[in-house]
Structures are given as C-alpha cells and as structure tokens.
C-alpha cells in the first residue's frame, strides 16, 4: 500500500501547474469556427472531461520562469560533465534552426518543394563523411544510443548477408558506456567484457583470446572513457578484423579528434556521431540529441532508409535535384521521417560551416589543452589512476587517505562553489571516479577557479569532512531522499478517476 504523502510538513517551493490551476482562466483562445457546424459523434465516443489545468498566460510564463531559475546550465556556468561535452551553444544556431523555411516544412512534402532542406542534409552527410573518413552517413538516428543501435543492426546485417550466422558475440571494454552493452543486448547478442591494461588501453592479450569466428565485432570508445587515446589502436583493430569482426566506434568522444585523426582512416567500420556533443547542438535538459552514423564502403548498402542522394545531376547554373534513396540491403527505418532535422541537423550544419577545417581542429586542440591543463593543476591533490597525456577529459579519484569523504560529496560540495559537478562513479573501473571534461569553450580563469575549488575541497575533506558530506549548503535545494522517491513512486501529480491506490 502507498502511504499518503506527508503534505503538512513538506514545503512547496513552486506549486505544480495543476496546483496553480483556477477554473475559468484561459491562456490562449482560438478564432471561432468559420464553417457550418457538424454534430459531434455519439457521446459514447467522447470523453466526459478533460482534466487539464486552467491558467492565464502570465501564470504559465511565471511558472516556467521560476522553474528555469532552479536549473544550472552552460549559459550560467561551468559544466565539466565528463563524457557529455557540455560546450557553449552558439546563439546563432538558435536563429538559423528557427528560420520559417525550416520550421514550417512537412516531412512528406514533394521533394521539389524542399530542396533547401535536402541540400542541407546532403551537404551535412558529405561533411560528416569528410570529418570522420567514412564512405556513407545516415542522419536518421535520434540520439547517440539510437545511433549505436543502428550501428549494431548494420553489423549484424552485414554478417548475415554473407551467410555468416555463427557470430553472436560483441566485445566491449570494461570502460565502455552502458549504452554499448545495452545496444548489443537489444539484438540478443552476447556481451564479452574486455579488461583494460595498466595504461588504460584495451588489454591486447585478453582481446586476442576473445577474438574468434563467433565475434560480431567490437564496440570501442576512443579516446576511451578515461579520456585516453588507445596507444595500440591499430593493433586492436587488426585483431578484431583478423577474426572477421567489425570495429564499432562510439563517437561520444569525437570532440577530441576533429582534424586530429579520422576514425575511418584508423580502420573503424562504423561509428555514431553525437551532434549534441561534438557539434554544439544543445542538450536540452536531456534531449533531443542527434546521432548520425557513418560507415565504411563495405557497409554503405546496409544504412537505414532513406538517405539523401542526388536524383538528377546539376548543370552549369542548375543545382542538382536532391531526393531520397534507399540503400540496397537497408536494415530498414530507425524512426519516423528523416531524423532530428531542425533541432539537430540545422544547428550542426551552421556550426560546421562557421568553423571550417581549421576551426574544427582548433576545437579538438583546445579541448585537449583545457583537459590537460586541469589535470596538471590537480595532479598533486587528486590521485589520477591512469596518469598520462589525456585527450579531452580525464578521470581522477574522489577519495583521500584518512577521510571518508567520497566522490559524491565532492560533487555536491562543488555546487557551493557555483560549479556543476563532473560525472561521478563512471567509468566503473576507477574507484570514486570524478570524470572531468572542460571542453574548449572555457577560459583559463574559469579553469583556474575550478581547480582552486577542487583543491580547497580536498583540504576541507581533511579538516571539515562534515561540511563536505552535508553539501550543498548554498543551493536552493539540498540533497534528495532518493529512497523515498523509489519506494513511494509518486510519478504524477494527477491520477485518473477511480484510480486504485491499493493496486
């Protein structure tokens, strides 16, 4: 049985939109119908009541403005969340993606009426191919995890098309993102975990032992989640290819590689991009993302349908006619319509167009500079278990000898210094992990202030551990009772009529 919430003791900071409702208020009105009236269908097909809130426009605006003030964001401060590439999102992208020609086009319009959209998509496919060294790209996947799923489907389809049915194993390093095994699991594949060696690279001996003719392939993030570029990357790929497997690149960390190295040149067969990380599509409080997938020449026929192609070549002043094409052995459709066109593709297109080849290389170089600078400043205070030149991020241990302060406490205490905490407890192979990714869009002053705060917290952990363990102190909200949330499962502030609380 679910206990009634203890309403009397709980303080409400901002009422819910339902609590703010007052019968009779309206937020927007529409023009009256201008057509002769048709009777509604019989009552048994209609709903008796629509239990939505009733508010005026100002009520709605104030409510959401209050809520917005409870959020930490890139626009308000440093957000070094490892593996998430929380870079600054240029404002011009917000304008270009909202041009009426993009906003108000229907995905099923005849291609002749949407040549601007199709030209943009075609060009973006070409640019992503050039940046990554792949032969084909689909823009359809909605997010990184969706791109991964697409990639795994392509790998499976490739082996099947060759009559190679015994491949059931996916090799995944112990440092991998959870989405890698989950994407493989969705396909019913068996996941074989490959350990990392003492320098944070894939353990070659273990990999060699796992490589046989039942291997679908390997999913590898490189730079990996320790922020390290695998020193034996060519050997790793050679081993996987040697047993007939395909090499999947998790593009989560592509920010470190722009203009530095192309995964396709290294021998990767398939990779997803995270346009919301690398190409500054904003994260939106958890989406929408955008996860295009690039593939090498032997996998182009398996891409999801449709992709954008040239239907008729252009001549002299005539641009080509762009349209949709279906790859010969396509795995099918990954979502309705053509991917996250407006929110993802237009913003990423704008971003790449404004950077050009040199600007893209600058992104990677400064992202790596910032990470190494922070690592250098923190090295003497925080233990860095895999300590070598990092790429765009690094992982420190959030624990100190003689103190029971944990990574979580350090994360929470950072909020008191006005910083968003790094990712913690990931990757799983580092104890009390603090995974720090500063990105290229932070200046030296910010990095210094952040390093100073972390050094100060390390000292507090020894001198005033209770202060750190009870942090944050200066934020509007304190630590949450997560057990209560999971036990009581109040997931909605409105319940249907006759809802049985005992069920």
């Amino acid at each position: 049985m679910i206990e009634a919430p203890e309403q009397t003791q709980v303080k409400i900071v901002e009422p819910t939109i339902f609590e703010l409702s007052s019968p009779g208020r309206t937020g927007v009105t529409f023009p009256a119908s201008d057509v002769p009236e048709t009777a509604l269908p019989p009552e048994e097909l209609l709903r008796p009541d629509l239990p939505l809130p009733e508010l005026a426009e100002v009520d709605v605006v104030r409510h959401y403005m209050h809520l917005s003030s409870f959020n930490y964001s890139v626009d308000t401060g440093f957000y070094p969340l490892g593996s998430c590439t929380m870079k600054y999102n240029p404002k011009i992208n917000e304008d270009t993606c909202r041009l009426p020609g993009f906003l108000y086009t229907h995905p099923l319009q005849p291609i002749e009426t949407v040549q601007g959209n199709l030209a943009l998509m075609y060009q973006l496919q070409e640019w992503l191919k050039e940046i990554s060294g792949f032969a084909g790209v689909t823009l359809q996947p909605a997010a990184g995890a969706h791109g991964e799923f697409t990639g795994v489907l392509i790998m499976r389809a490739y082996h099947k098309s060759r009559g190679d049915h015994k491949r059931v194993k996916m090799l995944i390093p112990d440092s991998a993102h959870g989405t890698n095994p989950a994407s493989s699991g969705m396909m019913g594949l068996q996941v074989v975990q490959i350990p990392s060696d003492s320098r944070g690279n894939v353990d070659l001996k273990a990999l060699e032992a796992a490589c046989d003719d039942t291997v679908v392939g390997m999913m590898l993030t490189n730079p990996n989640t320790l922020g390290l570029f695998d020193e034996n990357i060519e050997k790793v790929i050679e081993l996987v290819h040697g047993c007939g497997g395909l090499m999947y690149g998790d593009g989560a960390n592509l920010n470190a590689l722009l203009g530095i190295v192309r995964p396709g040149d290294l021998g990767f067969d398939v990779m997803h991009f995270n346009l919301h990380k690398t190409f500054a599509v904003p994260h939106g409080g958890g989406g929408p993302g955008s996860g295009p997938v690039g593939v090498a020449a032997h996998l182009v026929d398996f891409l999801p349908e449709p992709i954008v192609g040239i239907i008729e070549e252009g001549e002299d002043d005539m641009p080509p006619l762009y349209g949709f094409v279906k790859p010969a052995k396509t795995i099918g459709r990954m979502k309705a319509f053509h991917g996250h066109f407006g929110g993802g593709l237009v913003r990423a297109f704008t971003y790449i167009a404004m950077h050009g080849p040199d600007g893209l290389k600058d992104i990677a170089q400064y992202a790596v500079l910032n990470a190494n600078y922070l690592q250098a400043r923190l090295r003497n205070t925080y233990h860095i278990p895999y300590d070598r030149t990092c790429m765009h991020e690094f992982v420190a241990e959030g624990r100190f000898e003689g103190s029971d302060v944990r990574a979580l406490d350090i994360a929470k205490r950072l909020m008191d210094y006005n910083f968003h905490p790094p990712t913690n407890y990931f990757p799983l192979i580092v104890h009390e992990a603090l995974m720090i990714e500063p990105t290229e869009t932070e200046n030296k002053d910010t990095l210094d202030a952040f390093a100073d705060a972390l050094i100060k917290i390390a000292e507090e952990a020894k001198t005033q551990p209770e202060l750190v363990k009870s942090a944050p102190h200066t934020t509007k909200f304190g630590r949450m009772d997560e057990v209560k949330a999971a036990r009581e499962l109040v997931l909605c502030c409105w319940l249907p009529e006759n809802y049985d609380l005992e069920a």
């Binding site: 119908s33 959020n71 601007g116 940046i131 969705m186 409080g285 704008t350 932070e442």
Partner: protein, 451 residues
C-alpha cells in the same frame, strides 16, 4: 570563427603548466601516419555569412505558413503554436542544461518533466508516463520491447493493425529484427473491409502485444473497449498509438482498458521542422512501471524538507543494467517534452478542446464539400477526427502536382502503402485551415475532376 575564449598568451602559459611546447605535442598517441589530416571542407564562415547561407537554404523551401496551404498530415500536423512556447524553450537555463543527474541544481528540468508526465497521464487516462522517447514510432517499438520483457520472452508474437502508421510499422520491424519475434496483422487483411475486431483472429496464447492506432491512420475513431477485452482474454497486452489532439475530444485509451498508450507529441506545440525532433510519449499502468524503458521522474523531499523531484527507478536503465536492460535509451526528448508541457499548460482544459473541435469541424466541412465533387468520394463511413481518405479516381501524384501549381499541398498518397487504395489521398485539416482554404481546395479539385 570559433568560440574558444583563450588568448595566445594564456595558451602558452597553460602549455607551460602542462610541460609541453606546443598543442601538437598533446597528440603523440595518435598514429603519426593518420595524424592531422587535411579536411576538405569549405573555409569558415562568419556569423553574418552563415546566416545568409542558411537563409538561402531555408528560402529554397516552400513552407506551409507563407507559401503553401497544407492538407498534408499523416503523422505530423500543422497546428498553431502560441508564442509563449518558444519563449520558454529559448531560455538558456532549460536548453543548455544536461540530463538532470544532479537534482539539487536541476529542479527546473525535473519538475517540468514531472508535470509533463502528469499531463500525459491526464490526456491518455493512464497511470504512469515516462520522461519521453524519440518519437511516436520508436515509442511504439519500445512498447513491443516492454511487452516482450513482461512475458520474459515466453510470448513471441506481436499483432500490429494494418491501420497503424506505415512508418511506425516499419520502425517496429527494424527494432525487432534481432528478437526472434513474429509480427502479424500487418498485411493479412483487405484494407478496404478491415475492422479492428478482425485482429482477434490472430491473437493467441503466444501473443504478447496487440497494437492499434487511435484515430487510425485513416483518421477513423473506434471504441476499442471490446477488442481490448478480447485481447486480455488471451492474456496479451494492448497498446494504443494515439494522436494527442484527438484525446482532448474522444474517449481516453485508458478508459478503453489499454495497457500501454504511446504517440507522437508533435501536435502539442512542436513545429513540424521537416520531421523532427518531435517527442514520443509513453504511458502505461502502474503495475508495468518496472518494465517500462526510459527516464522517470518521481516526487520526493530534500534535506530542507522541500518537495522536490529526482530521476527514479534508475536501476532499470542501461547504465546500471548494461546488456540486461530492456532498452538502450539514454537521453529522452527533454526540451521537446517541455514544449508540449508549456503548450498544454497554456491551452489547458478549454483551449485544447477548442483546437480539437476546430479540427473536427473543419475536417468534416472539407469532407462534405469534397465528397460532392463528381467522381470523388470518401473511402470510409466510420466517424473520423481530422483526417479522412478521399478517392480522387486518378493518380494522386498527378492531382497533387496540379494542386501544387495552385499553392496547395495536397494529401498523402495512400497507394504508396496500400495498393488497394491507389488513387486515394489522406487529407488532414487543422485549425490552421480557414474556410477559404478549404473552398479553394474544393474548387481546384473540381477542376481536376473535369479535366
């Protein structure tokens, strides 16, 4: 240009702290022969040039606000979006935040998602909602995953009505190709005579899920209560793919006994944006909450005794369960879900009902006028919402080309997916279409019939 705020002098100081001479030195782990490729990309544009370039591309399209009168729907709809929605979505505090892993400084996002979940429950008549999926099609595919997991793989058949959106059915096929699952119903009935109750002949003890659409792909409204009773009698779950605008007017899927209700939230204040991003809503009964994929926000209290919200039941998710997770979903459509919540808050009880009634009235006026045209007629006689199948008695492509010459974006060509409905188009009418628009359509189509 770039957005890097580091001066050359600061850069050099930082390199010195690191102990290297140059930026290039940081990349010695990268195989030398592939290091620093020369990318064949156009040179960088300034902001001014980029805006010009993008404006040119946008203007190369014909859009449904200033260039075309649209009667095209088929899963994405041209509705009015009140100004407030985008003003809220443009707040950097919302759109430049990440998934709310640190609840103390993410209560804005968390409460907004909690309210989104509540609004979706209110709309569908269901008990729990997750924080969203990519779109309606992937939400439908996740319903299959959930039902499959619910029976622990012991029931391996899914029945999908042929009147579910063709692209949704295609996505379900893609998603399930590694699952050793039988998909039935898709092409087993003559579409012109099909009735939802026909599906029961396919439901057996091996069936885990039956999926129907509401209104169906042809815009028709059915009371699925009896069908769902039949599905439940076989022990299977029932999923309804619903249009959220229609739910303002018609009986809720929850009251029909549905176990899962999914759909695309685009009609709720989200621009069509050439197909995305939109948002897939996913609601179900509380008893299935542990099998539901996706992020979930729950209410709790903080250390100061304040009501607050956290991501909960995270043990179901991929970062904990890894290969044993039912889904790999990681991000949701946070910002788009926020947009739908703002839209629903603003329109509220009266506004959404008004939009639904306007759609209904205008679509019925259009249907009545169009069916008077000689040689044309409605394909079906069931009650419908804001879309209907019209027989135009000649190739739809030809008819649409003619309409386009008159600035009209015609209906969806049903013959592409249903050979029996060759020469039929699916016409969508919303509050955006005036009587004058509809009369123009009728007039131009009358010309076609006399050609």
């Amino acid at each position: 240009m770039t957005y890097i705020p580091i001066s050359p002098k600061e850069r050099d100081a930082m390199l010195a702290t690191i102990g290297v001479q140059s930026l290039d030195e940081l990349f010695e782990d990268v195989p030398a022969k592939h290091r620093f490729p020369k990318l064949d990309l156009p040179p960088a544009l300034t902001e001014m040039e980029a805006l010009d370039e993008l404006s040119g591309l946008a203007q190369a399209n014909e859009n449904v606000r200033s260039d075309l009168i649209s009667f095209l729907g088929a899963g994405m709809y041209n509705h009015y979006i009140p100004s407030v929605v985008d003003h809220i979505l443009r707040r950097g505090e919302f759109y430049t935040a990440y998934t709310p892993y640190q609840p103390e400084i993410s209560q804005g996002t968390l409460q907004a998602i909690f309210e989104y979940q509540s609004l979706m429950c209110a709309l569908t008549g269901m008990e729990v909602s997750n924080a969203s999926h990519y779109d309606g099609a992937t939400a439908a595919a996740e319903a299959v995953n959930m039902a499959f997991a619910q029976f622990r793989g012991k029931r391996r058949k899914v029945v999908v009505a042929p009147t579910v959106h063709p692209q949704y059915r295609a996505v379900i096929r893609t998603y399930t190709q590694g699952m050793d699952l039988q998909l039935a119903g898709d092409d087993q009935f003559p579409i012109t005579d099909y009735q939802p109750s026909d599906l029961l002949s396919l439901v057996d003890d091996a069936t885990c899920l039956v999926i129907v659409q509401y209104p169906d792909f042809f815009g028709r409204i059915y009371d699925y209560t009896k069908l769902i009773e039949g599905i439940h009698a076989k022990g299977a779950l029932a999923c309804i793919v619903a249009n959220p605008t229609a739910l303002a007017l018609f009986k809720t899927p929850g009251s029909m006994g549905a176990d899962i209700v999914v759909g695309d939230g685009q009609p709720l204040g989200i621009p069509m944006w050439y197909g995305g991003p939109s948002v897939g809503f996913f609601t179900t009964r509380k008893q299935y909450v542990h099998k539901m994929a996706g992020r979930l926000v729950g209410e709790t209290v903080d250390s100061k005794g304040q009501r607050s919200y956290v991501l909960t039941l995270t043990a179901r998710e991929q970062h904990i369960k890894r290969e044993r997770a039912t889904s790999n979903i990681c991000t949701n459509q946070g910002l788009v879900a926020l947009g739908t919540a703002v839209y629903l808050s603003l329109l509220g009880k009266k506004g959404l009902r008004q939009v639904a009634e306007l759609c209904y009235q205008k679509a019925h006026y259009a249907a009545a006028q169009l069916s008077k045209i000689e040689g044309m007629g409605l394909c079906f006689s069931e009650p419908f919402f804001h879309e209907f199948a019209l027989c135009v008695n000649r190739p739809v492509e030809e008819v649409n080309a003619h309409l386009l010459e008159h600035g009209i974006l015609g209906g969806y060509d049903l013959g592409q997916d249903y050979p029996a409905l060759k020469d039929h188009m699916l016409i969508a009418v919303t509050e955006m279409n005036t009587k004058e628009d509809i009369d123009t359509l009728v007039e131009v189509l009358s010309e076609v019939s006399h050609d």
